[in-house]
Symmetry: C2
Subunit: 374 residues, 2 copies
């Protein structure tokens, strides 16, 4: 359950504690994504070292391979991964609908037929099925099955997809309650949709919020729209989502988006961005985003970030890490992944401290003025 | 310097201690290869955790990229890698001559012209140059520049290559002494050549041994010959190499070859094999070499090796590691690399214990009867 701890006096930012079956998460926080039941390149110990309090896994990927039956038979995600940390699974909705762009998806009010990106085999997901799979996987927080309409859809279609998402949420809740029996977990979150339309977003937020779920999420953002548009949608939605429930902005993961969304009342974030840009040789520090392959780092004996206490910054120079990336050595991908995840998680923790002191606005302005200076 | 500690009573196996500028190595031991100044997939801490006492780096690769000048400017390998462990660099000879098969190498008595595998650029190595580069890299043990003749060469050519290797060793020693000045490190090792010809191998061993270097190596084995032939060559050579110097068998790295060579008086080994087979999904345990992708491991909750205390075996099941390999997830490559390196290093340590008790022959027979049973 969620307890709101402190409301910043000059913004919608707040701190809170979300308790799950595997522990309590302090918010605002960034959640590393472990798509296939592994946060790319990191060990469980490293996830602990970067002070991650919760990780994600993806239902779509695990359903296709190795299959939810295997994970369930092996004792669920926690036991199979040997990781006793809060976990969240998404519903598979986002992945299924991303495939729609290749014309491989058929949607009706009952569910979605899609083709596997692995072997082209045909599969059928319903809200019930998505909930069943997530119960098999055994995460602490699970997500309702939603329709994420393409960014270029008409407003009419966004409304249709939103309504369908709402109906699917009702069915998700019923299936979830059936499976819960006497258990207290997992916690089910609903998802606000509505594209880039403030009125739809508000309508969706009010509906989702009315169902009094343990948490409310915002989906369908950070899908190509401008940052300004994204921030406006967040601002339109959060006032309609209960103060006493965690607010989870799905798929968002840059430093600037984190602080902007926190100031608008968001508590939880996830994104593959930190590990993905790491694999492309990019890293963040207070001065912005940089490419380690840049020639200027060749003889640079400084750490990636002077103020950072992650394993990469405590042990290695930009010169050495640059060499590892140039040579495509796995240790290089590891070090940049650790650093980038640590950077976002630490940004969440720094935000918590600033909020507790009612100084979040100054913290945010200060951070952005240096981070975006270039 | 090397101190022989204990001679097994029933074989040529012995224990010893080799002291370098960065610490003392107990032998027999396996040395992980960090070709490009990183042991593939492992962090420094993991190298410590698997109780590796020394690691290698490759002169050829580092010379081409990032260049020995960069490594020297950054303070040498230890400082650049931030790893305070004994290190050994090879001379580049093996790599340069492997390129010969593509017709990209010209050898004369003075040195070798070769083309970079990276960009086709032309380079010239002499024994002096190979020693200079290794002094720049700053390892604790360096190797003389040798000619590794192709396996299908005539006996006449093997003799010619051996003689050239001997002459190059004299020049390597001179250059090394010039660069040493008042320093005590690095230690220079010579390399025995001679193909699969016992008489040449013995001639080469006697010559190399007569130069009274801090250590003697055997090159040009494990290059495609039968295991029987390789073991015969080792048996022909070791009696001619001083008991009071470490004997290093280059490029050897399977469990069975380790115990066979140890029984013939070998003290040091290196090979990319443990990390390479890991990347292909293979691992060792007492029962032999296995492929983790095998369907029979799908629901297997046992560790890779029941008797192993490495990070992979202490934390993860075959089922989970199999999934990681199937999904090409980096954590899977990490876990198998750690396990395989630990397996060989532990085999060295178990051999040390058996030798100290004069039970090496029984240890070896017992190990091989189970390992080779299939």
């Amino acid at each position: 359950m969620f307890i709101k701890k402190h409301q910043d006096q000059n913004s919608l930012a707040r701190t809170g504690e979300l308790t799950t079956a595997h522990g309590t998460i302090k918010t605002p926080t960034f959640m590393p994504v472990g798509t296939k039941a592994t946060v790319k390149t990191l060990s469980n110990q490293e996830i602990k070292n970067i002070k991650s309090e919760i990780i994600l896994a993806n239902t779509y990927h695990l359903y296709l391979r190795p299959g939810a039956d295997l994970v369930e038979k092996m004792g669920g995600l926690h036991k199979w991964m040997n990781h006793n940390i809060p976990m969240l699974t998404d519903s598979g909705g986002f992945q299924v609908f991303s495939l729609g762009r290749q014309g491989n998806v058929k949607i009706d009010d009952n569910g979605v037929t899609f083709k596997s990106h692995l072997d082209g085999s045909s599969h059928y997901f319903t809200p019930e099925k998505a909930i069943q799979i997530q119960h098999q996987l055994g995460a602490d927080i699970i997500m309702a099955f939603d329709e994420c309409a393409p960014a270029d859809s008409s407003k009419e279609y966004f409304k249709k997809a939103m309504t369908r998402t709402h109906n699917w949420l009702i069915r998700s809740i019923k299936e979830h309650q059936k499976l819960l029996k006497d258990k207290e977990s997992p916690l089910l979150f609903g998802i606000v949709q509505g594209g880039m339309h403030q009125d739809l977003r508000q309508e969706s937020a009010k509906f989702i919020n009315s169902l009094d779920l343990p948490g409310n999420a915002i989906g369908g953002l950070s899908v190509g729209e401008s940052k300004k548009d994204m921030y406006e949608m967040i601002s339109a939605v959060t006032p309609h989502l209960s103060e006493n429930k965690p607010r989870y902005l799905m798929g968002v993961g840059t430093p600037e988006d984190l602080v902007e969304a926190i100031s608008r009342g968001i508590d939880m974030f996830d994104c593959v961005n930190p590990t993905r840009i790491a694999r492309h040789g990019s890293f963040w520090n207070q001065d912005g985003q940089h490419t380690i392959r840049n020639k200027r780092f060749e003889f640079d004996s400084a750490p990636l970030d002077q103020d950072c206490d992650c394993e990469a910054c405590q042990n290695h120079s930009r010169s050495y890490i640059r060499h590892l990336l140039v040579e495509k050595e796995i240790l290089g991908l590891r070090l940049l992944s650790i650093h980038n995840l640590h950077f976002l998680i630490n940004l969440g923790r720094q935000s918590q401290e600033a909020i507790e002191k009612n100084q979040f606005q100054a913290f945010k302005d200060n951070f952005l003025s240096q981070y975006l200076q270039r």
